[in-house]
Every structure is written in C-alpha cells, then in structure tokens.
Subunit: 183 residues, 4 copies
C-alpha cells in the first residue's frame, strides 16, 4: 500500500513539474516580419524571453531533480506530507507567472529591478514547502536509511538555487549596462 502512495504522489508532482516547465514557452510568441532579415532581427530581440525561459527551465529542472532525489529516500507518505507536497506544487505551478513578468521587463531599465526582485522572491518562496516536505519526512520517520546522510542533499539544494539566481543576476548586471550603452 505504502509503495502505491509514493508512486501516485510522484506521478502527480511529475505532471505539475512537466506542465509548469512546458508552459514557460507560451510567453514566446512568433514575431511578425516582412523580410528574412527583419525576422532574424526580431527573433534576436526576443532575447529576454530566451533568458527567462532558460533560467526558469534550469531552476525548475534542478527542483525536479532534487524532488526526485528526496523521494528516492521517502518510503511512505502520510496526510501531512501529501499536504506539504501540494503546497510545494502550488508554488511550482505559479512560476510561469514570475517568468513572464521577468521576460517582459528584463530589458527595460525602468522596471527590471522590480521584476528581478519579484522573480527571485517567488523562486525562494518554493524552498519553504520544499523544506517542510523533507523535514516532516525525516521527523515522521517516513525516510529509509540514515537521514543525516541525506540531509546534506537538502543543504546542497537551497544554496545551489540561490547561487544560480544570484550568479545569473550578477552576470546580467555585468553585461547589461555595457550592452545597453552600445545600443
């Protein structure tokens, strides 16, 4: 029975991860152009959309890999774990929205600060239910093997996401002003 429970929680989660990650592309719309040269230029001008897509896909992809990793150690689910996992899914399914906000504003010097803060804040928000899932699983003894050894896995996760968000943001702040001056 326990086995079956985990399977279904994982299937539901995988579905939401897969859909949230695929919906990101809906923000990219085919541009209108009269000539091939103009189409290439307009495809190039969509770079904020590509950046937002790549960043969000990478981050959601890492989240999925970590979800995958901790559920390999979780052997049973109880009501609270399911509830924390639904909360985690609530934040994951929300991510296409801040991604769209970022894509629309990353190239606009007037609004990119607010958009980046909003985006990073929602990304960090996902770590709360994620930690709840893991901490409850360890506390309620739903985990097989030595939890201490696995906890390092979790410790690894949050900083990694943070480093990527901050790293990419920094990279952006280094490159963008120079690029803008050239335009």
């Amino acid at each position: 029975m326990a086995e079956k429970e985990t399977t279904r929680t994982e299937a539901f989660s995988d579905g939401i991860f897969a859909i949230a990650i695929t919906l990101l592309i809906l923000d990219l719309r085919a541009p209108e152009a009269g000539t091939s040269a103009e189409l290439w230029r307009k495809l190039g001008q969509l770079w904020p959309g590509y950046v937002a897509y790549l960043m969000s896909f990478t981050i959601i992809g890492i989240m999925w890999m970590n979800h995958h990793l901790i559920f390999r150690h979780i052997q049973r689910v109880d009501y609270r774990l399911t509830m924390y996992n639904v909360l985690l899914m609530l934040t994951i399914a929300f991510l296409p929205f801040p991604t769209g906000v970022l894509a629309h504003n990353i190239a606009d010097p007037g609004t990119c600060t607010a958009a980046t803060v909003f985006y990073s804040a929602t990304m960090l928000l996902t770590s709360i239910p994620y930690s709840c899932v893991w901490l409850h699983a360890v506390k309620a003894d739903l985990v097989e093997g030595d939890p201490a050894a696995v906890t390092t896995v979790l410790a690894f996760f949050a900083p990694l996401t943070a480093i990527i968000v901050i790293g990419l943001s920094s990279l952006y702040w280094l490159i963008f002003p120079a690029w803008r001056r050239q335009r």
Copy 2:
C-alpha cells in the same frame, strides 16, 4: 489485470488534475509598466487573480488528495466506475473557466455576486460525480476492507470543501467592503 486497470485510471486522472491545476496560472498575465514602482503597484492590483489561483489550487488540491485517498481503497475498476470517473474529470477540467470568471470579477462590486455564485456552483457540481465514483465502488464491491470505515472519509470530504468555499467567501465579504471603502 485488475491492478493494471486502476493504475491507468489513476494516471489519466492525475494528468487531468495536474493540468487543470497548472492551467489556472494562465489567467495571470504579466502587466505592462514604465517604472519599478508602477510594476509593483500593478502586480499588487492583480490580487483578485492571486486569490482565485490560491482558492482554486487549494480546492483542486484537496479534491486530488481525496481522489488519491478513495482510490487507495478501490482495488478494481469496471465500466461504470471508469465512466463516473470520466464525468468527474469533465467537471475538474472545467474549473479553470469559473476560476477565470471569479478572477475577473471578484474586485468588481457590480459583478462579484454573480461570479462567486457561479464559481461556488461549479465547485459543488464536482461533488456529484465524485459521490457516484465512491458509492458505485462500494455497491459493486470494488473496495477492499471495510467500506463503512472509509465512508467517513467521504463524509469528511464534502463538508470540508463546503467549509473552505464558504469560509473563504465569508472572509472575503468581511474584508472586502472595508478594503473598498478605503480605496
């Protein structure tokens, strides 16, 4: 054979739950803004969309958890159970529409009554095929263990949804008029 049947009915249901719950976010569109301050204000003005998203995600999430719960006790599926489950999915997949209606009208004093009634009505509609799934499963002896013990699970479900819908609606009616006067 029986095992395989349940697996696939659950997989199909999980898919629809996951997609319906993720499509809710498509109603939230990135706002246009000239400055960071304006973007923050516009992101704040989208609160009806956040409320509708949170409410619908919570309700569909609870529905999924209960679907999960009763299918743990259902060991086999027959043609009628599959049919009732498809009907349940028909109502679940419909939910992004009333959610959108609610999000567009919750902040409008002129239309929020109709939108809330329409939203609550479609939410309550889902309980009809849900009850059919469970009652047929018990009647046709597709359930393992003591049905009486599990029936309490079902009895728990409908009121819970009702309490959440009514509770959130009440909360809204308490807060909203005061908030509107301040605007």
Copy 3:
C-alpha cells in the same frame, strides 16, 4: 521488457489524452460585464462553448476508455504499433482545434454547417489510426486471449462515436431553429 514497453506507450497516450481534453477549456474566456445580471446573461450566451466542450470531452473520454480497453488486451508493442499509436495521438491532439471552430460557429446560422461538417470529419478521422492500432495488434499476435471476442469491442466503438456525433448533431438541428426563432 515487453511489460515496460506497453506501460510507457500507455503513459504517453494518457498524457496526450489528458492534455487534449483539458485544453478544450482554453476556448472559454471569462466575459466582461458591468452588472451581475449582465454577467449571468453573458455566461449564458457562451452556450456554444459549453456544448462544444461537453461534446468533445464526451467523445475524447469515450476514445480514452476504448484505448484503455484495447490496451488491456495488448501484451507487447512493436515498432509499427508504436507508430500507429503516435498517428492516433496526432489526430487526438488535433481535436482542440475543430472544437474551437465548432464553438465559434455553432450559433451562427451562416457558418454552422461548415463547422459541423469539419468537426465531424476530424472526429471520424481518428477512427483510421485507431483501427490500424487494433488490426495490427491482432495480426502481429501482440494480443492475449481470443481476438475474436475482443473485436466486438472495436465494432462497438466506431458506431458508438458515430451515434453520439450524429445524435447530438440531430438534437441540435431539432432544437436550434426553434430556439433561434425565439431570439
């Protein structure tokens, strides 16, 4: 190995069925209204969308149930069966488009004939790869048990879909002219 193959073909098919059936709702957009009375009236005027949603959900739901039914008897998959199944999915994933065409034109006396013919034609088109899947499975001996007994299942499917399409269309042609005169 054979078991695993069937599982994954079914999972992929279930995913496409679930998504195609859920995307149908995206054609229904929340109407703009100034008063509750106007919102109710506008929600009522969306009836062609509800009819198209209900019809397509019912038909795709029956298709899924039949896909489910024949794959219970298919024990192994080979390259051609996978290919026929991908072709079937190609027609299933196409269905949100004719559904949208039907929804936009069913209430327009000038275009409803073309829309209904286009809709019914694409629905009937799905039966070609569906028959290929089953006939190849029987011919290539991928089916367990007595194929003759199961063939009646298939014979049941095509007419059922046809009867529903024609039945609902007829119902529509009976009701619609009377309803239109009253408007």
Copy 4:
C-alpha cells in the same frame, strides 16, 4: 531502487513530450467567417499551420519513439544522465516556439527562408543533448546488453530526423514556387 529512478525519469520525459506535442495545436486559432463557403476557404488558408503541426508532431513523435527505444536499454540513471535528460527536455519543450515561427512565415516568400533555417537549427539542436544522454549511458555502463548493437539505433536516429527535415523542406521548395505562381 535503480528501477524506480528510470521509471520517474521516463515519466517526467513522457509528460514533457506529451505536453510539447499537444501545445503545438494552440497556434491554430479558429478563423472568423460570415458564410460556410468563407469558413471553408479560411480553414484552407490555415494550411501553413497544418503543415507546421504535422511536421513538428512527426519529428517530436519520432524523438519520443527513440527516447523510448534507448531508455529500454538504460537500466540505471546517475546524476549526469538525469542532467543531460533535463537538457534534452529543455530543447524539446522549446519546439512549440520555432513551430509557431514556421507556421506564421512558411507561406510568406519574404520570410520563409529565415523561418525554415531557424526551425531546422532548433530541431538539430535537440540531437546534442540526445547524443549526450546515450553516450554517457554507454560510457558509465548504465546500459544492459551489448552497447555496440544498440549504437546502430542512435546512428539511425539523427540521419532519420535530418532526412525528414531536409526531405520535407525540399518537397516544400519543389512545390511552393509553382503553387505561388498560380496564386
């Protein structure tokens, strides 16, 4: 444990394949028309959308079949294989965008060259992470049976995609100029 890992990686991949392939249809929008004759004509004028849908569905379908094929031989997953697979999914989930670009420009003599090149380039891009998945699986000994025998499978894949893309493009270049002159 190892078995479970493969299952979940495949489920996540199947989800993304299924969603990417189904989202292709969202580019086709129901046309507005006043008469049945006009509706038929407008449905006919959407042929670039049908061509793009068919091509992309065929190509993504073949990719799924090949992903299915190589994962039948992969018995375990490690961190790098999961990462390469996430990268592959990143390119797969991106495909609805170039498909939309192709659909909007294939019938426009001024922009079809750029659109076809962009489309083919993104299609070929998917073969990089796909090869990484397979080569790493062979190198890290995650594959059961004789890798040499299976490698022919991979060798078969890339040219097949290339042949289809080039074949369809050529067909298009043969037919389109003649068709355009008649218009």
